[in-house]
Amino acid sequence: MSEAHSAEEVQKHVRMYMYIFGTLLVMTAVTVAVSYLNLSIVPALVVALVVATFKGTLVARYFMHLSGEKPIIFQFLILTAVFLVFMFILFIWALSDQRGVASYVS
């Protein structure tokens, strides 16, 4: 995509990067602040993951230029995401569908 950008465009990008930078810092502060609220596990998990996903998306979209990326790249990522999701779900399922009880509780 290198030659697709003119100098002014890149200038515009740079401004955008600074906005994203600011947002990321704020989101980091939010995560840390929320952690001091001592929420119980489920809401804490949801907040943490939502914020992290949001931050990750910002980095991927803007810094990694995913927003204007070609379809082939998205195809890779979608394929990977599908397998990843399967892995998460099936691992959790495997744990809940395991016969037997813990033999040793300290």
Partner: protein, 206 residues
């Protein structure tokens, strides 16, 4: 014959070889850290005890009590900032400003070292308190996941340092390809950043 599409994108896919290669590599990295995250979930859900839980009347100190959240937050900021500088380094090359590029790239590498220094302070305070990986599954996964991430940071430093040092010769001979290389290095570096963005809350905060 030369290998085509090293500099200019292939018309039907619209991307260069290096772009395809790095994204494929990142896909495999996603599966690597994905595997570790699912291991983390598996262990945590099946564990008899975990920081922040109460088991048979005994409360286990939570993750944020054991680990240093301020240091990790500082590291998050450092990594995010280095992500910004590396993309600015690329932008400088795009606008043909090599000296500015050198500053940004240098900053990126400096901050990567900063990250590692903070990390080693973190580790050594853990060790001083007798908190070794063998202590508990939680500490084990903490050390292994952050350790593997740190190895990725080191890898990034090596690549970036090469590109800033000996690799910079290419700017004279083939600036387009050099810019592409910086972009690719940047993609890797952003990925390392994203991994940390997920590691930070999962390990330190919840």
């Amino acid at each position: 014959m030369e290998i085509p599409y090293t500099v200019h994108p292939r018309p039907d896919t619209g991307v260069t070889n290096a772009k395809v290669g790095i994204w494929l590599f990142l896909a495999s990295e996603i599966m690597l850290f994905g595997g570790l995250f699912s291991a983390y979930i598996f262990l945590r859900m099946g564990a008899p005890e975990w920081p922040g839980t109460t088991m048979s009347g005994h409360y286990y100190a939570s993750a944020s009590d054991i680990l240093s959240v301020p240091l990790a937050a500082l590291n998050t900021v450092i990594l995010i900032a280095s992500s910004v500088t590396i993309v600015l380094a690329w932008a400088s090359l795009m606008t043909n400003n090599f000296s500015k590029y050198r500053i940004y790239m240098g900053l990126t590498i400096l901050m990567s070292f900063g990250f590692l220094i903070v990390k080693s302070i973190e580790y050594s305070t853990k060790f001083e308190h007798g908190l070794f990986p063998s202590e508990s599954t939680f500490l084990a996964i903490y050390f292994v996941m952050t350790g593997l991430h740190a190895i990725h940071v080191i890898g990034g430093i090596v690549v970036n340092a090469y590109l800033l040092g000996p690799g910079a010769k290419m700017w004279k001979t083939n600036p387009t390809q050099y810019t592409n290389r910086i972009e690719v290095a940047g993609l890797y570096w952003h990925f390392v950043d994203i991994v940390w963005i997920f590691l930070f809350p999962t390990i330190y905060l919840i």
